[in-house]
C-alpha cells in the first residue's frame, strides 16, 4: 500500500504556446484511489493523458514503479483508461469489446472466455455477451468500458470523468460500485472529475487543481476542513471567505471583532483569509449573536434552507434547518472550531462573497455544459 507506483516530476505542458500544466509534482501510492479535481481547463485531463501516454510532456518525467516511462508508447504502458463517453467499439459486441485487449495480447481462447466471464460478472452484465454495444443504456455501456479496461489486468486504472454523462441517480449508484470494484481488486485508480461531491465520497486522496497547477493534495477531510487557499475553499463545498487579521496564535479579527480560533503559526498582524462553512453557523436571536445581520433571500434545498444574510454589506450563505423569513434580523454565533484561517493567496478576494449569488450561476456550472466545453478544448488540442 505504501509503495509509490506513479510519480510525476516537474511536469510542464503547453499546447500552441498556451501553458496547460506547469511545475506539476505528484506521487501516487499503490492501491490508492486518487482523484484529480478541478474546473474545466484546469489540466486534470491532460495530467491523466500524460500518465496514459497520450500526451508527451514538454518538460519533466513520468515514473512508473521507479522506472522512467516518458518514451514508452501508450500501447506498452501497464495502465488502462476509461474514456469520457466510453469509446466502446460499436462494430463489436459486448463480449468482443471486453476481449479486445486480450486478443491483441494473443491470449488463449479459454483464458479469454474465462476472463470475459469474470469481468462481466464483476460489472453485473452477465448474459449481455452477444448484445451490440449501441443497444445498451448509458450505464450499461459504462460497465462494458470498465470491464474492457479491467480485463487487461492493469496495475493502474485511469478514469476520465467516467460518470459525467449519466443521470444523477445512476451516477450515485456507479460511484458506490466503482469504489467497491477498486477495493476488491486493490488496484490504483486515478479518477478525473469536476464534481467535488464525487471526489469527496470516493477518494483516498484528492488533488485539487486549477490553472495547470496543484492547489492542494490531501484526504477528503483535509481538503474540506483545512483548505489551503480561497480557490480550494470555494471549489469544495460552499464557503464564506472574509478578510481578517491574525493578532496572535488562536486569535483572529474580522468585522471589527476578535474571535478565538484553532489556527496558529502566522506572523503578528498578518492579513489572512477566514473561511466559515455555511453549515457550521449557529443562528440565534440578534441580542445573543456575535454578529447581527438581515436575511435577504431564502431557498429551500430539501435537506436545509439556503439563507443569504447581509452582514454590513457582506453577504454570507448560511445553511439552516429552520426557516427565517426575508427581512428578519438574526444573530450568529461562531465557535472556534467553525473558523478556518488561510494564508493570503492569488485567489484572495475572488471567492466567498455571496453578494452576487443567484440560482443562475448554479445552472451555468452545469456539468453537462462543462463536459461539452472540455471536449471542445480537447479538439483544439
Amino acid at each position: 500500500m505504501e509503495k509509490e507506483i506513479i510519480k510525476l516530476k516537474d511536469i510542464a505542458v503547453s499546447f500552441d504556446g498556451e501553458p496547460v500544466l506547469s511545475g506539476l509534482n505528484l506521487s501516487i501510492r499503490d492501491g490508492e484511489f486518487v482523484t484529480l479535481l478541478g474546473p474545466s481547463g484546469c489540466g486534470k485531463t491532460t495530467t491523466l493523458r500524460i500518465i496514459g501516454g497520450f500526451v508527451t510532456p514538454d518538460h519533466g518525467d513520468v515514473f512508473f514503479d521507479g522506472k522512467r516511462m516518458n518514451d514508452l508508447p501508450a500501447y506498452r504502458r501497464p495502465v488502462n483508461t476509461i474514456f469520457q463517453r466510453y469509446a466502446l467499439f460499436p462494430h463489436l459486441n459486448v463480449y468482443e469489446n471486453v476481449a479486445f485487449g486480450m486478443r491483441v495480447q494473443k491470449k488463449s481462447r479459454e483464458e479469454i472466455k474465462k476472463t470475459v466471464g469474470e469481468m462481466l460478472a464483476l460489472v453485473n452484465l452477465k448474459g449481455f455477451e452477444k448484445r451490440g454495444v449501441n443497444t445498451l443504456s448509458g450505464g450499461q455501456q459504462q460497465r462494458v468500458a470498465i470491464a474492457r479496461a479491467l480485463a487487461n489486468n492493469p496495475k493502474v486504472l485511469l478514469l476520465d470523468e467516467p460518470l459525467a454523462a449519466l443521470d444523477l441517480k445512476l451516477r450515485k449508484d456507479m460511484q458506490v460500485e466503482l469504489k467497491n470494484i477498486q477495493k476488491s481488486l486493490g488496484i490504483t485508480f486515478i479518477y478525473v472529475t469536476h464534481d467535488q461531491e464525487e471526489a469527496l465520497s470516493m477518494s483516498d486522496t484528492v488533488v485539487v487543481m486549477d490553472g495547470g497547477q496543484i492547489q492542494q493534495i490531501g484526504t477528503p477531510q483535509d481538503i474540506y476542513n483545512e483548505p489551503e487557499n480561497a480557490f480550494v475553499a470555494d471549489f469544495i463545498g460552499e464557503s464564506n471567505i472574509l478578510d481578517g487579521i491574525m493578532h496572535e496564535d488562536y486569535l483572529v479579527e474580522f468585522f471589527g471583532r476578535k474571535f478565538p480560533c484553532l489556527d496558529a503559526g502566522f506572523g503578528p498582524k498578518e492579513p489572512v483569509d477566514v473561511v466559515i462553512r455555511p453549515e457550521d453557523i449557529d443562528i440565534v436571536s440578534p441580542e445573543k449573536g456575535h454578529l447581527t445581520g438581515t436575511v435577504t433571500s431564502v431557498t429551500f434545498k430539501g435537506v436545509h434552507f439556503e439563507t443569504i444574510v447581509d452582514f454590513k454589506g457582506f453577504k454570507w450563505m448560511i445553511q439552516t434547518t429552520d426557516y427565517y423569513e426575508v427581512g428578519r434580523q438574526i444573530g450568529i454565533v461562531l465557535n472556534p472550531e467553525d473558523i478556518h484561517i488561510m494564508k493570503k493567496s492569488a485567489y484572495s478576494g475572488m471567492f466567498g462573497d455571496y453578494s452576487s449569488y443567484s440560482e443562475e450561476f448554479d445552472e451555468l456550472a452545469d456539468p453537462e455544459a462543462d463536459l461539452v466545453q472540455e471536449s471542445v478544448d480537447e479538439e483544439n488540442i
Binding site: 501508450a74 467499439f89 485487449g101 487487461n152
Partner: protein
C-alpha cells in the same frame, strides 16, 4: 393542384428520360435507320460483341476503373486520416486544396495533365501517353472524392476510440485496421463507388491523357461518332445505362439495409 403537380412531375421525367428511352428502343431496331422502326432485332448487340475496337476499349475502361478505384480509395483514405489528425487551420487549408480539383473545369485538368505528361516525357522519356498516363490521371481525379466521403465519418467517430485501442495494447497500425477502419467503412465504400463511377464516366480528361494506344470507351465512341454513328453505339449505350442502373440499385438497397440494421441496433 394535385393533378397539376402530377402532370408537372410527369413532364420532368418525360424530358429527363425520353432521350434514353428512344436510344434503348432504337438499339433493338432491325435497320441502320435512326428514325424509322423496322422491327425487333439483337443484331447490333451481336455486332457490338464482335467489334474488337469496342471490346478493347471496354477492357481498358473497366480495368482502369477498378485499379483507379482501389488506388484512389487507399490513397484518399490515408490522406483523410492524416488530414483529420491535423490541427484546425491546416486541416481547413488542406480540405480547400482537396476541393479545388472537383470544381476545376475538367478540360483544364485534362490539358494540365497532358502538358505535365508531355513535359516529363520530353525531359526524361517516361510517361509516354497511353494506359499508364490514363490510369494515373484517373487515380488523381478520384482521390478528392474519396477524401470528401471519408472525412465526415472520421469526424463522427468517437475521437477516443483510436486511443482506446492503443490503450488496450494495439500498435498504431493495427489500431487503425481493427478500430478506425470498421468505423469509417461506410464512407470508404461510398468514396470507392463514387471513384468507380467517376472513372467509368470520364471523357474530357481521358481524351487528353489516353493517347492513341489505350483508349477507353468514351473516347472510342467519340472517335467513332466522328466517322459514322452506327446503332452499335446505341446498343453499347443501352448496356452501359443498364450497368449503371444496376449498380445504383445495389448501392441503394445496401444503404437501406444498413440503415434499418443501424435502427434496429
Amino acid at each position: 393542384m394535385k393533378t397539376l403537380s402530377k402532370i408537372y412531375n410527369g413532364l420532368i421525367f418525360l424530358f429527363l428520360y425520353a432521350p434514353i428511352v428512344v436510344l434503348i428502343i432504337f438499339s433493338f431496331n432491325d435497320s441502320r435507320s435512326r428514325s424509322v422502326w423496322h422491327g425487333f432485332s439483337l443484331r447490333w448487340y451481336e455486332e457490338l460483341f464482335c467489334d474488337k475496337e469496342i471490346l478493347n476499349a471496354l477492357i481498358v475502361t473497366l480495368t482502369v476503373a477498378v485499379i483507379a478505384t482501389v488506388a484512389a480509395t487507399v490513397i484518399g483514405t490515408a490522406a483523410a486520416v492524416g488530414m483529420h489528425g491535423m490541427n484546425g487551420r491546416l486541416r481547413r487549408a488542406m480540405m480547400a486544396v482537396n476541393n479545388i480539383p472537383m470544381v476545376n473545369p475538367e478540360i483544364v485538368t485534362g490539358i494540365a495533365m497532358l502538358l505535365l505528361f508531355a513535359f516529363i516525357y520530353r525531359s526524361t522519356g517516361w510517361f509516354q501517353l497511353g494506359y499508364g498516363t490514363l490510369l494515373l490521371s484517373h487515380i488523381t481525379f478520384c482521390i478528392p472524392y474519396v477524401v470528401l466521403q471519408v472525412m465526415p465519418k472520421l469526424r463522427q467517430m468517437n475521437q477516443h476510440m483510436y486511443e482506446a485501442a492503443l490503450d488496450l495494447g494495439c500498435r498504431p497500425v493495427s489500431a487503425f485496421f481493427k478500430v478506425m477502419l470498421p468505423e469509417i467503412m461506410p464512407g470508404v465504400v461510398t468514396g470507392a463507388l463514387m471513384a468507380f463511377t467517376m472513372s467509368l464516366d470520364d471523357f474530357v480528361i481521358s481524351l487528353f491523357t489516353s493517347g492513341s494506344s489505350a483508349q477507353n470507351l468514351s473516347v472510342t465512341i467519340y472517335s467513332m461518332v466522328k466517322r459514322r454513328i452506327t446503332p452499335e453505339i446505341n446498343a453499347l449505350s443501352t448496356l452501359m445505362f443498364g450497368a449503371v442502373l444496376i449498380l445504383l440499385i445495389l448501392v441503394n438497397v445496401s444503404q437501406i439495409r444498413g440503415q434499418s440494421k443501424a435502427q434496429k441496433a
